[in-house]
Symmetry: C2
Subunit: 222 residues, 2 copies
């Protein structure tokens, strides 16, 4: 499903450059549950953004579902994200001026789900993450962990093939964290591919296979 | 140092209200190291914002250093924050368009530290949190955990009497997390008062005393 070879990512910074990824090889099969682990600043989010077609590599090849993504333009990448990928961002990235249910329904708008249907489905997903009584709250009317759960609910809205979760439990207590892991495990059992970044052991342990990142390189055989 | 009696916080929300704190009694002595623990949405950040004079209670009394804060206006609260309190926000709240060192130097500007001195001190604090080679990065040129560490460095800039840390390790691996805890422990040994919210056990365990919050109430004797 995912095949990356010699992927690098260099960020320009004034007169210098930051080498966030220094030649990464990653292969992930359909239906796997993978954990990406590594120190802060090691390149995990950078790698996740490239896997999720939110950013392009500086060099190297990336075949997703057999197609070479590194040759695609912005519109083609947006189509792929819309159809196959659900992304839980480390910073949530919720629209600030609309209620929680509307944030969750956003991916459904791209996929042309009828308006009434969208709100109904959004409320069901919000209930599944414990926010049934917060559906009309704006992001700034929610706690940190509640905002994080809205971001998780949004990523699941279209039942995407691939779910990319970047530190999904950073603001959640272990009870809420386990609830989120249960949801991801259920989706995994339904055949979805799950890729999770987490510095919390009880979360990273859920991955059937672990990819260790350090200083922009993958450690060990992969 | 901190004495709160029957503190409530009600957020208006359209036609309804959200009772985030329902009559909280909290007493904290100078030099204590306290952990505030509780489920997502239980009122921890709300309580921290009131303790840190960033928000006012709806009712109840709050004496800080012997003075009744609930009677103060915005300017008086800002003066207290400037002089005594360092706040590590759950959402970081860094200025997006200035480099990391400038974000760290902000509290020093309020306290009239000379410009050259400010940058020097800011770089020293950034080195202490492992960001010596990221001092000129803007927030969007930093990883999640790096932004969190800039927010931590900023809270320590003026060596405040009281440090309020809301989920300070949510984006940090355990090595970086322990480094932050070491810094807070050192400040505690110097006599500073530390109040920390964390859902991660290894962080909450550092508090010498724990306050449990659930549904806006403090559980047990306090
Ligand atoms: N501005 C607001 N308007 C309405 N409700 C709010 C507002 N801010 C917070 N709330 C609600 O108040 C409750 C307490 O919020 P608070 O942020 O204090 O929780 P918390 O314990 O810090 O949670 P977390 O662990 O998820 O960060 C939450 O359920 C939240 O939905
Ligand atoms: N836009 C950018 N410009 C310059 N450097 C950047 C940019 N974005 C990220 N970096 C740098 O690239 C490195 C990798 O960042 P990345 O966000 O992938 O790390 P991470 O492993 O997700 O870290 P964390 O666990 O703290 O979230 C970091 O050291 C960061 O400073
Ligand atoms: Mg990251
Ligand atoms: Mg909070």
């Amino acid at each position: 499903l995912i095949k990356m070879r010699d992927v690098t990512k260099v960020y320009p910074l004034g007169q210098t450059e930051v080498h966030a990824l220094r030649g990464v090889n990653v292969s992930i099969k359909k239906g796997e549950f993978i954990s990406i682990i590594g120190p802060s600043g090691s390149g995990k989010s950078t790698l996740m953004h490239i896997i999720g077609c939110l950013d392009v590599a500086t060099s190297g090849t990336y075949f997703l579902r057999g197609k070479d993504v590194s040759k695609m333009d912005g519109n083609q990448l947006a189509d792929i994200r819309k159809e196959f990928i659900g992304f839980i961002f480390q910073d949530f990235y919720l629209l600030p001026d609309v209620p929680a249910w509307y944030n969750v329904s956003l991916p459904m708008i791209y996929n042309r789900v009828a308006p009434k249907e969208r709100k109904k489905k959004a409320v069901v997903i919000l209930e599944s993450v414990g926010l049934g009584d917060r559906v009309n709250h704006l992001p700034n009317q929610l706690s940190g962990g509640e905002r994080q759960r809205v971001a998780i609910a949004r990523a699941l809205a279209n039942e995407p093939e691939i779910i990319i979760a970047d530190e999904p439990t950073g603001n959640l207590d272990s009870v809420r964290g386990e609830e989120i892991l249960e949801i991801l495990s259920d989706l995994h059992e339904k055949g979805k591919t799950i890729i999770i970044v987490s510095h919390e052991k009880y979360v990273a342990e859920r991955g059937k296979r672990k990819i260790y990142l350090k200083d922009g390189r993958v450690e060990g055989k992969n």
